[in-house]
Amino acid sequence: MTRTITLKIPDSVIERAQAASERSGNPLETVLTVWLEQAANHDLESLLVSEGVHTIYTPVGSEATADDLWEILQAHQSGKPNADKIQS
């Protein structure tokens, strides 16, 4: 059993779906239906909270920053003068 529902879909999503449709040779409607089914199989309800915005601040890949902080920490702990300007 199926139902027909009219959805307003952003252009950006339609463009991706059309590209997928052309690559796969499936109709646009089939691509969108598959995408919806895949989303329904995952617990994506949390994506709907907080107005749908989930910003990830985790700075993965900041090794250079970590190196800088490590040097500052090491210099402070070894008592080097002017290692930093903190007087904690």
Partner: protein
């Protein structure tokens, strides 16, 4: 030997949403003290402190050493090093530990306890299915 302390995941808004491993710490800089809540984030390369909290500690942006830019969506804002002392009643007792932060110009970023140097100071085990995590001072 330092004791391993178990904490519950907590929600920012007190509900069941956005459960995260959050810890409260007191941060100290000279005569200033603030209490902060941060996310224990093993994916974060560094500790992160948002701009306003640094100001609340009396830190002066221009006096802090510039560091390499952060990655991700904090990368468009400058960050500086901020070396602080920190304490937690159960984890550090009356002692203070040194915690070095990437002090971001961002006012929206949460406090993050990352690899440099929270995870060097503490051993952490996550038990997400139990909504719990354990922390032990090294």
């Amino acid at each position: 030997m330092n004791q391993r302390i178990r904490f519950n995941y907590t929600s920012r808004f007190g509900g069941g949403d956005s459960l995260m491993p959050r810890l409260n710490f007191e941060l100290y800089l000279r005569q200033h003290t603030i209490e902060i809540t941060g996310i224990v984030d093993s994916g974060s390369t560094v500790n992160v402190l948002p701009y306003q909290m640094g100001l609340a500690l009396g830190a002066v942006w221009q006096e802090q050493k510039p560091i390499a830019p952060l990655a991700g969506n904090l990368g468009n804002l400058e960050a500086r090093a901020l070396l602080l002392q920190a304490s937690h009643p159960q984890l550090t007792g009356i002692n203070k530990i040194e915690m070095v932060f990437a002090w971001s110009k961002s006012e929206d970023a949460p406090v993050l306890f990352g690899q440099m140097n929270f995870f060097l100071a503490f051993d952490v085990c996550f038990f997400r299915a139990e909504n719990a995590f354990e922390v032990q001072r090294r």
